[in-house]
Amino acid sequence: MQFRIRGDTILKILLIAAALFIIGIVVALAAELYKGAAASIFKFGPAFLIGSKWKVNKNEFGALPFIYGTLLTSAIAIVIGFPISLGVAIFISEKLKSHRSFGYVLGIIVDLLAAVPSVVYGLWGVFVLIPLLRTYAQTPLHHYLGFIPLFSGNPNLGSDFFTAGIVLAIMIIPTMSAVSRDVLNAVPNSQREAMYSLGATDWEVTQKSVLPYARSGIFGGFILGLGRAFGETMAVTMLIGNIPTITANLFSPGYTLSSLIANEFGGSSGLYESSILEIALILFAVALLVNVLARLLLWRMNRGIQIKF
């Protein structure tokens, strides 16, 4: 009896330690970044967020161009990636309903996009995608739609918001489509049958019955994809040109929060280093917000845990 209690206690203590460790990582991460960024936070205050200058020799730092670059490339990725992901999910869970194993294989193939490392996306982007996009996307877009500010720039640069956004779209498709697929698969069949019995077509069933039922889960997947796009580093660093720019022109080089860290943190010191750590803190805060939101949506959907907003 004595032994039983001791064994249970030891196991529980070990497991609790592991669980606390995970909470500890997140807390320590926030604390360390804040400590490192303190000098920059006190020097620039909230103006850091809207400052658009990044002049190392004059000790002037502002995050706006990087925030802009992160938001713009992620927006391009979502605009292109989300409809494709949703389409894939609908195809697998609705159109292939009676061909489960084919749907399963197709799911694995799309998931493999997530197995390709970021740096390989970057390598491929630099040497294959840039010339492809220049010839088949950027030049025609500029030629026919050049009057729109988005496409007015020189289409021949290659390293720009547009290319980085396209690669990000490819990278977030597996995340978003896997989540949407799981969510659509979890929609009860009675939901579909009721609609069919009213004489609806396949698409009407999907549009009016399945998608509304699954919307909070799909939105969770959307946010999760957005979070991935925000944090993605290597491929974007290799493709965006790394020049701080704020412009509506998609064919212009830019810079993102994470690529700034990758390029400039090594060898930085003093206020410069602190400013980069504040950039990391911004990235941390945004990632935390986005992931908490996504997880709340998905948890509510998947596990039936009631979380009040």
Partner: protein, 291 residues
């Protein structure tokens, strides 16, 4: 009743919309698969000429000297992923057991939530964190720091897949064991863990695959090196950083080597992923989500 007598006949317009949406969904599938085919095709075609036994075992050389290889990078990647696994497997499995077997406790909910949040975290930021914690203390980039950074990425993946696979173990098994008077710790370790071990293995393999492909967390922790690692506390090469440095070098001979290293990396990762998906991972759909 014949079809024509049905009260609600489907109008032409509704049929057209239905067909149109089917076509759009098909286009989406094509658009998702084409990049994968292109990437794999290019990596195979451009990488294959670089591969040779010497390439896999030699140390890198300057760009105009032939015979350079990725030996140190392969060694470094294995050391750091191995170290990452050594740290993350016990913690991840422990946390996973706690999430599944004590799922009603508040700590379990909070930690499980943080764990899910951590899976989506920018890995660049995790690398900076380890830089501040370890590199600033030891004053040296090292395989140890790189391994710790990778373990931060692997732990939440292992914890989540472990807890999801243990939740699939029927409660009746636990009850049967408890009814025999077996203490809870023995029930968890002998009955629950051994029943759910496939899921556990899935989690570890997924985490290894994920860590193998990471670059950003190694930039400021392990940095890079051109020689074989002799100590855990010196800068260490890795496949991903090797690819990155050579890809942006601008020298054609080095870019070819970058493609070769990319091919090797992709082959390892595809093998790991397919192994997980096609065999043991079939039942744990959650594993897929957390990648």
């Amino acid at each position: 009743m014949t079809k024509a007598n049905l009260p609600a006949r489907i109008s032409l317009w509704r049929k057209i919309v239905d067909k149109l949406m089917t076509i759009l969904v098909l286009i989406a599938v094509v658009l998702a698969i084409v990049p994968l085919i292109l990437i794999l095709g290019d990596v195979f075609m451009k990488g294959a000429p670089a591969l040779s036994i010497g390439f896999l075992t030699n140390v890198p050389t300057a760009q105009n000297i032939s015979g350079g290889g990725i030996g140190p990078a392969i060694q470094g990647s294995f050391i750091m992923v191995g170290l990452g696994a050594l740290i993350s497997v016990p913690i991840g499995v422990g946390a996973g057991i706690f999430f599944s077997e004590w799922s009603t406790s508040k700590l379990s909910t909070i930690s499980g939530f943080m764990n899910d949040v951590l899976t989506g975290f920018p890995t660049m930021v995790l690398g900076l964190f380890v830089f501040i914690l370890i590199v600033l203390t030891t004053k040296e980039y090292s395989a140890f720091a790189g391994g710790v950074a990778l373990s931060l990425i692997m732990t939440p993946i292992i914890a989540r897949t472990t807890s999801e696979s243990l939740k699939l173990v029927p409660t009746s098994l636990r009850e049967a064991s408890m009814a025999l008077g077996i203490p809870r710790w023995k029930t968890v370790l002998r009955i629950v863990l051994s029943t759910g071990k496939n899921g556990l293995l899935t989690g570890v393999l997924l985490a290894v695959a994920r860590a193998m492909g990471e670059t950003a967390p190694l930039l400021f922790t392990a940095a890079t090196s051109v020689i074989f690692a002799k100590s855990l506390f010196l800068p260490t090469a890795s496949l991903t950083i090797y690819i990155y440095n050579y890809a942006i070098s601008g020298a054609p001979s080095l870019v070819t080597q970058a493609w070769g290293a990319a091919l090797l990396l992709i082959l390892v990762l595809l093998a790991l992923n397919l192994l997980v998906k096609l065999t043991i991972g079939r039942n744990s759909s959650k594993a897929r989500m957390e990648m």
